[in-house]
Symmetry: C2
Subunit: 347 residues, 2 copies
């Protein structure tokens, strides 16, 4: 029923040559001398038999499996993570590689199990990805392997790390507001604990850009990165009579909560208040008005990580990928200032 795969031996016999010769032809080695005529016979036979080399057998001998492991903490179950993985897979295919995908769910034992299972299957290297740009502690098993860190960094060096250029992203967000005419009534929404590099870097990008423009943040509203806490925090902030001209939200979910709070306060986006955000998730184009947001470059991140992993001369160290602003409808020129923000910095 299931037609057997044909082997190199089959090809060799049909072409009337030895397995060795067939192997040389199929792997295209030019250092061994094969007559053009024999080469054609082998290629012809391979075509006729629809020959495909058994990669398991090849790997066993060469130790090259054309396979890499993709390990993440919880990245695979996050909404946007799919694109990171899809782009990694597509890039790997372009290099004739396939991806074993594993998710540790943050459990070091699961992670260890995944790594060992992949090594047992001869993976030639790993991409280790994290959901949040942060510092990670690497399993010793990984350190002895070709490795690229994706969306995270590690104290131990000696391998490439691919991260979004969060600083530049922060700058883009700030510049979008400055360009629209906002200056000293810009308020940040979110929180930036030290270990979340995405947050701290975005903040640096924002503040430095404002400093260069001769101004600074008018305040910041502490809030977890979810809609509900953001809604509550921003509602309270507005209820206290504060009237900033713009909010910078540290991600789209915060922006959603901020939208809801602004709306409930009877204000309009962007005429009363502008909003810019980070992530450029689907959500950004679903809300009304559509949200201007700095995109996380998932596609490029995945592509860069795999390209680096499979490049024998890969450069170690930090590789920053540009974050582009998706300009939509949530930013407009500020109205004439009415009520200034009172000392609202809670941090």
């Amino acid at each position: 029923m299931t037609r057997q795969r044909s082997t190199l031996m089959d090809v060799a016999q049909r072409a009337g040559v030895s397995r060795t010769t067939a192997s040389f032809v199929m792997t295209g080695r030019r250092d061994m001398r094969i007559s053009g005529e024999a080469e054609q016979r082998v290629l012809q036979a391979a075509r006729e038999l629809d020959y495909r080399p058994n990669l398991l057998a090849r790997s066993l001998r060469t130790n090259l499996s054309q396979t890499v492991g993709f390990i993440s903490d919880v990245v695979a179950s996050e909404p946007f993570a799919g694109r990171l993985i899809a782009s990694s897979i597509a890039t790997a295919i372009r290099h004739d590689h396939l991806l074993f995908v594993g998710e540790s769910a943050g459990d070091p034992e699961v992670e260890q199990l995944l790594i060992r299972s992949m090594l047992d299957r001869g993976v030639g290297g790993f991409v280790y990805a994290s959901l949040y740009t942060r510092e990670v502690k690497l399993s010793p098993l990984l350190k002895t392997q070709p490795l690229v860190l994706l969306n995270c960094v590690s104290r131990s060096r000696g391998f490439p790390m691919v991260v979004p250029d969060e600083f530049g992203g922060g700058r883009s967000a700030a510049l979008a507001l400055l360009a629209a005419g906002h200056l000293d009534q810009i308020v940040l929404v979110g929180e930036t604990p030290d270990h979340v590099l995405a947050g701290t870097e975005r903040l640096s990008g924002i503040t430095e850009t404002l400093t260069v423009a001769g101004t600074e943040l008018a305040g910041s509203i502490q809030s977890l990165w979810w809609p509900e806490p953001a809604y509550l925090a921003v509602s309270e902030f507005l209820a206290a009579g504060n009237r900033p001209t713009a909010f910078i939200c540290l991600n789209d979910r915060i922006a959603l909560g901020t939208y809801q709070a602004i709306h409930d306060a009877g204000l309009t986006i962007p005429t009363d208040i502008s909003v810019v955000s980070f992530d450029d998730s689907d959500l950004a184009s679903w809300v009304r008005p559509k949200l201007t947001s700095v995109a996380i470059p998932h596609i490029e991140l995945g592509r860069t990580a795999i390209d680096l992993l499979l490049d024998p001369e890969r450069e170690h160290g930090l590789h920053k990928v540009e974050m582009r602003l998706s300009a939509r409808e949530s930013v407009a020129a500020p109205k004439t200032r009415r009520v200034p923000v009172r000392s609202a910095t809670q941090s």
Copy 2:
């Protein structure tokens, strides 16, 4: 530097037995007679050397790779898809298997390439997943392999197909409204083309349940499954003076657009209009009021598919997975009826 992996030969030598004996011990075969003493020596040696069998070598001999292929059309880049994959991976690990993940992006050539690449690496079977519950045309290559269809069906039989119980989901949605007291002023939002089984089945579940309750849908609003078209269609519907007591939206994105339209019409959820939806995505708990939605059981879908694939006695045919209602805040009793829905059925 990189300590070499130890081989079965190393273990055998350290234990003072032949490779054959070591192999029998390690694979736990009881049909070959090994003395308890020799067995202990081998196990001890394996422990000391941290021996792990080379799965490539084993597969080459046994044709059992402990590896399966997961192929999807565009599932991997959709928000919720991550959970499907993560749950498949977790289940596979429980069976000592690893997943090659591939995404065809709907391109048959890419799909073919992925399948062949996976076969070259000796996968023992495939899960073929689709984003939308629909009928698919299977590559001939797949049909000769152990195969489970996930979230899609095929005319060719002979393998298990795992799908959400969309009909039951429709019933749950309708029952939630009936239980709250809604009866003959319920309107559907979405569209149900024949090839999208999720839609047609959900509709059947809804209408049959209403029929049993002695009523029927008061109308249906045609709309693509995205927020903006839903917003426009529902806005128009409400502007025409229609005042249903409840909307059933065919997914959460439609529900978002519906929320926006209801809000713009000056109406309140759930006091003026109740809303139930399908998907139970993150969005459902982010909107205000929180959305009551029938969940797509991603975790169970992935688990079931892998369990079936790796069960040698797997049952062919359709496996339906229950869809549970996540009750939140968007359903309440209808107010006294005021303006009835005018013949609004546009389909």
